[in-house]
């Protein structure tokens, strides 16, 4: 059994009992990286030296009894969280050589927990995309089928976990960027409630939607990761000063007497029959586990993509104004004056999708259009949130598909932005409402591509969310396949 294929909780037991060492786990992970990274390309930057230093330190800490649940565990970081001393590119040419002078709060927490950082994972540029194809550093391939995309924007983190190039990973989710690639790569991915995990040091895409969350090989690992990253941070005004429970306590509780809602608006035309099948089987499993399934309505669902693609680009257009070639990042040397320097640096530094969204956002906020776009979308967003508030009065959790289709082919949607945006149709509303959501593997298509099922709960109910995800995982007994790369 290769160590790199194991879960956090399995490795933790072995480390505690002295059956293995962090150095051995890290060696196994880098051996695997060496074997498959050329084909998959999960990482933008590998930090092997740092990882082994951390592993050696972790082993010393374990020996002296100072180990925690993540001590010595290789965790990959999406290249959107700032790491002091390690370049952080956000998938963009404009930050190609940017070395942050500070750590993001999640990274600081992982360092303090004794985790090992194998590297920074690939992503759509500034997290804008659903396929990891907009990265300046090349595409990432789906480990289950190298001709397919891994999803996005956290595609590298998803593929790294799926391909055993790390034990778990961190991603960020603005409109589905954790859950969608988790589903397409057959791993667990969770977006916590907005405000549950500090955004300090997370390079902003859309600040009112962004949230950091874990990728893992099973639900238990997801709970362990959440224990490590959740909690109030005085450096993030939007993080919530509330107690964080021990999430692993929810895993064995079961869902007898729960009511689980199925939003009728999510079963639309155009959803792939194999995906639909897998999700319907998942509903059956939930029912078999003792829950009652009811139909619910989220009446404003059809507007979520439009709302999202006004609000997220609006915020992004402002968030990305700081990339001006003055203090850090790429600067064009051709500009003769300041205006030319700005325009040439930004035009050469950003890729097409980023520019498209900056343009949409700038237009949506501009004089004469604000009310029709940004304000209108923010009002519809309030209605979308009300839909969920209403729904959670009737049910404990919601079950839904994650994506309308399994992983699609590389290049398939690159020329049709709108079609690409519609990939996020089932994941976006969760970000708009601020609620937590999780994607759990629920089967495979005939051609062997993974499919995920999504659970959603009310604000700050990550405990319940993990409870239903764990109950589903136990009862579903999905055969645990590994991708052949």
């Amino acid at each position: 059994m290769e160590l790199s294929t194991l879960t956090i909780h399995e490795l933790q037991r072995m480390l505690r009992e002295g059956e293995t060492t962090s150095v051995a786990i890290t060696e196994s992970v880098f051996k695997r990286i060496e074997a498959v990274e050329d084909k998959v390309h999960s990482y933008i930057t590998l930090t092997e030296d740092l990882a082994f230093q951390q592993a050696e330190q972790a082993d010393r800490n374990m020996q002296s009894g100072r180990g925690g649940p993540l001590t010595g565990i290789p965790i990959a970081l999406k290249d959107i969280v700032c790491t002091e001393g390690t370049r952080t590119t956000c998938g963009s040419h404009i930050l190609e050589n940017f070395i942050p002078p500070y750590d993001s709060t999640v990274v600081r927490k992982f360092r303090e927990a004794g985790a090992v950082f194998p590297g920074k994972t690939n992503m759509d540029e500034f997290a804008m995309g659903s396929s990891t194809e907009t990265s300046y550093f090349g595409i990432t391939r789906n480990p289950w089928d190298l001709s397919k995309i891994p999803g996005g924007s956290s595609g590298g983190s998803a593929s790294a976990v799926a391909a055993d190039e790390c034990i778990a990973a961190i991603g960020s989710d603005t409109g589905g960027s954790i859950r969608q690639p988790a589903a397409l790569c057959g791993v667990v991915g969770m977006k916590p409630t907005y405000g549950r995990v500090s955004r300090y040091g997370l390079i902003a895409f859309a600040s009112s939607l962004d949230q950091i969350g874990p990728f893992s090989k099973d639900v238990e690992d997801c709970a362990i990761m959440m224990n490590a990253i959740a909690g109030y941070d005085p450096k993030d005004s939007t993080s919530v000063p509330a107690e964080v429970p021990d999430y692993t306590r929810f895993l064995s509780k079961g869902i007898e007497d729960w009511t689980v809602g199925v939003p009728k608006e999510y079963f639309i035309e155009g959803i792939d029959p194999e995906v639909l099948d897998a999700v319907k089987r998942a509903m059956q499993v939930v029912e078999d586990a003792g829950a009652k399934i009811i139909e619910i309505s989220l009446p404003h669902s059809e507007y979520c993509v439009a709302v999202y693609y006004v609000i997220a680009p609006s915020e992004a257009s402002s968030n990305l104004a700081r990339y001006d070639g003055v203090r850090y990042g790429f600067r064009s040397r051709e500009g003769r004056d300041l205006m030319e320097m700005y325009k040439m640096s930004r035009s050469a530094g950003f890729g097409d999708e980023v520019k498209r969204r900056i343009m949409i956002g700038t237009h949506s906020l501009s004089s004469g259009y604000y009310d029709a776009y940004y304000k209108k979308a923010s009002q519809v967003r309030a209605l979308l949130r009300r839909d969920f508030d209403e729904a959670f009065r009737q049910c404990d959790a919601i079950i839904a598909p994650v994506t309308p289709t399994p992983a699609f082919g590389i290049g398939e949607k690159m020329d049709d932005p709108l079609q690409m945006y519609l990939c996020d149709i089932f994941t976006i509303s969760c970000n708009l409402a601020g609620i937590p959501g999780i994607s759990v593997p629920c089967g495979y298509t005939k051609s062997g591509l993974p499919v995920g099922v999504q659970f959603l709960t009310g604000h700050f109910e990550e405990g319940k969310l993990l409870q239903i995800a764990a109950a589903y995982e136990r009862h579903a007994e999905i055969e645990r396949r590994r991708p052949e790369i």
Binding site: I203, S237, A321, R322, D324, V326, Y328, Y342, L365
Partner: protein
């Protein structure tokens, strides 16, 4: 046709906090470039702002001191524009829901009170500094000032003359400094002012086309710039021309305003709510708590001094020029029980010496307590007013208590009638000619005799006794 100026002023005041508005960097002025910066105020990727509570408290103080309504909910917006000293590409400010609105201050112009409305007071962050190189096509960016907390105070277009404008500014300045929330230093840019100014025919309701004036770095500049601009616009209108809506810079050296160089871009700041900052909810209790900490404001203090201490308005104005001076005076007035004498000493000797030595009132070598003792010595006849001047001089130079000085130098006043009588007799005896002339009606000589007696007694004789005795003796002959 007679024209009437319509002026509105926008004041930016830097708040006297220890740290910047959204990060823990120091706000100290004059440090090496970029030494007071961090990832947050330099706009690094991934950073987030956290609001300095003191900024909110200080602004509430200003709102209350200018009779504003304090909004219970206020929110943050981003003002988007590109400039190299604006690190994030947007300025965090308050837009839709500012912290304070609908206030006013009363200004006195030539003895007439005039109320000038305040439209709003909002909080925002300052930008950094661009230093332009004269020799190279380059600018240098120092972000020490980026993120320093400012409040913007916007007046109603209620101002009708340069005097009123300056009067209003002085009043705001005075309040800010009194509250201890701004150092008021105009040269370092802690207190800056822009003006909107237009002219309209007298009696007309509608405003004329306005120019925006910038670059006025002192009250004098503001006064001169407004006067110049009123004349400039008047000339244009009288000769049938049209005022252009534009931004103009005051040129102090030439005493004129120039249009800002180059084409002004039509700004589109794309304001929208800042998702990184949460709303500030101000409970009525919190606002009341802050209200309780407000010091007595200059205008109220002035009126109270006139009423309570029976001193002229002018004196009250001088004595309330700063909170520290007013406190100094008030302590002396109360403890000595002689407010008028106290005001003479403070306005004359204390302020004179301070000015000479370039000291502030809180650096005065003569404490209020010492001055009270000195007035006590005069009142109980221990020293004369004349000796007191000498004592004060010594107090100023040595910091010693007046009692000690009087004792060390033997300056105790002679109140022994026989000793003075002796001196009077001696003076009259040695100056027979003058005595004769006096008795023949040359009463002006009385002063001469007083002077001679004082000279003989080294100034220590009680002047009242000297007068009485002299009058008696001279009329006896």
């Amino acid at each position: 046709m007679e024209f009437e100026p319509v002026i509105g002023l926008e004041v930016h005041a830097q708040l006297l906090t220890n740290t910047k508005i959204f990060c823990g960097c120091s706000t100290r002025f004059g440090e090496a470039p970029n030494s007071n910066t961090c990832p947050i105020c330099s706009g690094m990727p991934g950073v987030l702002p956290v609001l300095n509570k003191k900024v909110v408290e200080y602004t509430i103080k200003m709102g209350l001191a200018t009779s504003c309504h304090i909004n219970n909910i206020n929110t943050w917006a981003r003002k988007n524009y590109f400039y190299p000293d604006l690190p994030k590409g947007y300025q965090i400010t308050q837009f839709a829901e500012p912290i304070a609105e609908h206030g006013y201050v009363d200004v006195e112009i030539n003895g007439n009170k005039k109320r000038i409305g305040i439209t709003r007071i909002h909080i925002e962050e300052d930008a950094g500094k661009s230093i332009h190189d004269e020799n190279q096509p380059a600018s240098y960016i120092d972000l020490n000032r980026a993120g320093v907390p400012l409040i913007e105070i916007v007046s109603e277009p209620d101002i009708r003359s340069a005097e009123e404008g300056v009067g209003y500014l002085r009043r705001l300045h005075e309040i800010l400094v009194y509250l201890g929330i701004c150092d008021g230093n105009m040269e370092e840019g802690s207190f800056r002012c822009d003006a909107n100014i237009s002219l309209r025919p007298k009696g007309q309701e509608k405003f004329g086309i306005r120019a925006e004036l910038k670059n006025m770095n002192s009250f004098r500049h503001v006064h001169r710039a407004l006067e110049y601009e009123i004349k400039r616009q008047q000339y244009i209108l009288e000769s049938g021309g049209h005022v252009v809506q534009e931004t103009r810079l005051w040129d102090e050296a030439q005493g004129v305003t120039h249009p800002m160089r180059g084409k002004e871009e039509a700004h589109d700041y794309r304001y929208f709510p800042d998702p990184d900052l949460v709303a500030v909810h101000l409970s009525d209790e919190w606002i009341e708590e802050i209200r309780k900490t407000l010091p007595e404001l200059p205008l109220a203090k002035r009126e109270r001094f006139v009423a309570e201490f029976d001193i002229p308005l002018y004196d009250a104005q001088v004595l309330t020029a700063s909170r520290a001076l007013a406190d100094y005076y008030e302590e002396i007035a109360r403890k000595s029980g002689k407010p008028k004498i106290a005001s003479n000493w403070v306005m004359g000797d204390v302020l004179g010496h301070l000015k000479e030595d370039r000291l502030e009132i809180d650096e005065s070598p003569v404490s209020a307590h010492s001055l009270v003792s000195m007035i006590g010595l005069i009142e109980d006849g221990t020293i004369s007013g004349k000796i007191a001047k000498e004592v004060f001089e010594e107090m100023w130079n040595t910091g010693k208590e007046p009692g000690t000085i009087v004792e060390e130098k033997g300056l105790v006043q002679i109140t022994d009638t026989s000793a003075i009588e002796q001196a009077v007799d001696d003076v009259l005896a040695t100056n027979p000619t003058q005595v004769n002339e006096y008795r023949q009606g040359k009463e002006k000589l009385f002063g001469f005799f007083v002077g001679q007696v004082m000279k003989v007694t080294k100034g220590k004789a009680n002047p009242k006794l000297v007068n009485d005795l002299l009058k008696k003796k001279l009329s006896e002959g």
